[in-house]
């Protein structure tokens, strides 16, 4: 499914993934799967008020996130990229805190994590990636050394005008950006065929002269390799790349959603295709890369991790109300400071 033909600087010499790396990818996917399904349970248990599961998108997210060079690249997520965050080694309590309703953008440090704040505006950060990437060009890094921006968005988001402006800007400026679309078949209740005219987001890239890769988003290795190629292309100074990872949103849009209203269980079964985790497991078994003991250990690690994150989340108290005021500006204004004072007097009674 992957078509690399259009990439100017395909990283084809890149070594195939080692067994160690393959196992690492699986371990990450297992951790993500377990944390994700657990988060849905947390919501049912009242630990968090809401969550947007990425069930079924583990391969797309882990495979792409794994290709990021955290010394120089930068990732711009939307709201469903927990798997990318985990693959990039984020503090997952900090990440999950946004679903605890602690802080909108999450409590991790985006600069240190190379992972921008969680973004609730669909397509909101696509242009940021272009600006950041153009900044790398302006900074004058040598070709081959340039930091690359990767922006994640969905099939639904692809309808937003900002995506068009971003692709056009990026192509005109030859900005090192990877547009990573997770086409998971749905935007809440609207299926891709009523959303994406022409049927493919990747197909649009040609109109801007941008090379594109449509990739099996449920194949973690294919996703990784496509992303690695795209990064190599960008890093060498050849401008942007579009990747469309074809996958499926197996869960509800969010814990508030009821997919039964717009698709049947039968349709889900038919459309979802193979479970990316199970499929990768079979491959690793078949190729002798891992054995049952490894998978059991991966599961154990995932469970331990989930427990730690859950505890961390439970311990997260609400942020002090004063932060409402202190986080607005770098240089606070007297007017806002006096609002903070009234708030303290009236709400904290001090």
């Amino acid at each position: 499914m992957t078509t690399k033909s259009m990439l100017a600087a395909v990283d084809d010499d890149a070594a195939p993934l080692t067994h160690h790396q393959l196992r690492e990818l699986y371990t990450l996917m297992a951790a993500v799967r377990h944390l994700d399904t657990s988060a849905v349970a947390w919501q049912r248990q009242g630990i968090i008020p809401g969550y947007a599961p990425e069930l079924g998108q583990e391969a797309a997210q882990v495979g792409s996130g794994y290709a990021v060079d955290r010394t120089r690249d930068f990732v711009f997520p939307t709201y469903r990229e927990m798997g990318v965050a985990r693959a990039m080694g984020l503090d997952m309590v900090g990440y999950m805190s946004t679903h605890k309703a602690t802080w909108h953008g999450g409590m991790y440090n985006p600069l240190e994590s190379r992972f921008a704040p969680i973004q609730a505006v669909v397509a909101g950060s696509v242009l940021h990636a272009v600006g950041w990437a153009h900044g790398q060009t302006l900074a004058g890094h040598a070709a081959g050394e340039i930091g690359v921006a990767m922006t994640y968005f969905g099939d639904g988001a692809s309808s937003q005008g900002d995506v068009h402006e971003a692709m056009n800007f990026a192509a005109v400026m030859k900005a090192p950006v990877v547009f990573f679309i997770q086409n998971n078949g749905w935007a809440i209740s609207v299926p891709t065929e009523r959303q994406v005219a022409g049927g493919s987001v990747a197909a649009r890239a040609a109109g801007y002269g941008i090379p594109s890769l449509q990739v099996d988003g449920n194949d973690v290795v294919a996703v990784f390799e496509a992303t690695r190629s795209a990064f190599a292309h960008c890093r060498a100074g050849n401008g942007p790349v579009v990747i469309e990872a074809m996958t499926y949103r197996r869960g509800p849009h969010s814990t508030a959603d009821d997919p039964g209203r717009y698709r049947t269980l039968d349709e889900e079964r038919l459309d979802a295709g193979d479970d990316p985790l199970e499929r990768f497991k079979q491959r690793l078994l078949t190729e002798g890369v891992a054995d049952e003991a490894f998978f059991a250990e991966a599961q154990r690690l995932a469970e331990a991790e989930e427990e730690a994150v859950r505890e961390g989340i439970a311990e997260l108290g609400p942020r002090p109300g004063a932060e409402m005021f202190s986080m607005v500006f770098q240089e606070p204004t007297p007017a806002l400071q006096s609002q903070a004072t009234s708030w303290r007097e009236e709400s904290e009674h001090v």
Partner: protein, 357 residues
């Protein structure tokens, strides 16, 4: 536009057509009837069709009225509103939805430069009978951009009318009224009130019985403000979800012998200046309450209208109890942001204790 009928006190009979309904049900029913009554009405937006909207306001309407009348669009707010302009030019009466308040921003260009101005630009030949439904305001611990209050922005735009119901009864009647107007109306639905039930008199927009919150009875004309509670000492002015909170505050204040009038503004453009003058002319004190940030919020306009008409008799400057000049915070801090009972009571106290000089 500006007359305010205060309910005749003492009459307490339940009107015939009155039912208990949530605001969600009332809005859904209003849309159903609008579709049935006007074949030119079309409803669309993100997830409005099969899903019935994330708040189920359009629930069942596609199944009943067909995919031509009620349909999903691609995920693009400017597209939705820009398309509304063209449909209106073709003689339709669009009732588009933006899924949440914060997602009106991508459509502001179409709203301000096109919807609000096409009638003017075309010298009245291309009216824009568009009712834009915007689930609005905070209070539901939602993600970022899902708890915004855009009334000040909309009210400032020439060519728009803006309304926000606070009860199921008003939701039903105001939506039916708005959707049959030839001018564009921004219809701001207080999403935190979607599921509260209240009496809806389907047959009579202006019933004459009188009780309290959520009751159709405490009437007022559909085009003006509504006295939600009568009082003598001070007027609380509010709209949307803040009306119910102000009614609670009024009950608490009554325990201390303070008789608070609550004016539900309803129309945020044009504002019912006469109702403000009448109420504050009587009480001589006012506090305006809203969720939006303070600075350049609609509270400033309301306060200034009151000051303008009641300057000679006002006992204290109008107080504003509002959201702060900060981005709407995450769920954990929501209750710190939205005006709460304490802060409104403090505002009342400041007005009551005000001494010149």
């Amino acid at each position: 536009m500006s007359e305010t009928i205060t309910a005749a006190p003492g009459i307490e009979t339940a009107a015939a057509g009155v039912r208990q309904m949530s605001m969600q049900q009332a809005l859904n029913r209003a849309l159903d009837e609008i579709l049935a009554e006007n074949p030119k009405t079309v409803i669309f937006g993100e997830d409005c069709g099969r899903l019935g909207g994330v708040f189920r306001i359009t629930d069942g309407l596609q199944a009943k009225h067909g995919e031509d009348r009620v349909f999903d669009t691609p995920l693009a707010e400017s597209g939705i509103l820009g398309m509304s302009v063209g449909l209106a030019m073709a003689g339709f009466h669009p009732i588009p939805e933006v899924q949440f308040d914060g997602f009106a921003y991508p459509a502001i260009n179409q709203i301000v430069c096109q919807i609000a101005r096409m009638n003017y630009r075309s010298r009245g030949t291309l009216p824009m009978p568009i009712t834009l439904r915007v689930p609005s305001f905070g209070g539901i611990r939602a993600p970022e951009h899902h708890g915004e209050s855009l009334e000040s922005l909309f009210a400032h735009v020439p060519g728009l009318k803006v309304v926000s119901p606070s009860t199921p009864h008003d939701a039903y009647h105001l939506l039916k009224y708005a959707a049959t107007r030839p001018d564009p109306v921004i219809f701001m639905e207080p999403k935190s009130r979607y599921w509260q039930k209240g009496p809806v008199d389907l047959t009579n927009a202006l019933p004459s019985t009188t009780t309290h919150d959520g009751d159709p009875s405490n009437g007022g004309s559909l085009t003006g403000a509504r006295v939600a509670r009568e009082g003598r000492h001070l007027t609380l002015v509010a709209w949307g979800a803040m009306v119910a909170r102000c009614l609670q505050v009024a009950e608490l204040a009554a325990e201390d012998g303070i008789d608070v009038e609550v004016l539900d503004l309803r129309w945020l453009k044009p504002i019912d200046a006469e109702a403000l003058a009448t109420s504050v002319g009587k009480t001589r004190r006012a506090v305006v309450v809203h969720e939006a940030p303070l600075t350049s919020g609609l509270g400033a306009e309301v306060a200034q209208l009151i000051t303008q008409s009641c300057f000679a008799t006002l006992k204290a400057p109008v107080e504003r109890v509002t959201g702060f000049d900060v981005p709407y915070p995450s769920g954990d801090l929501e209750d710190e942001y939205i005006p709460n009972i304490d802060r409104i009571l403090f505002g009342i106290q400041r007005v009551l204790e005000y001494r010149r000089g």
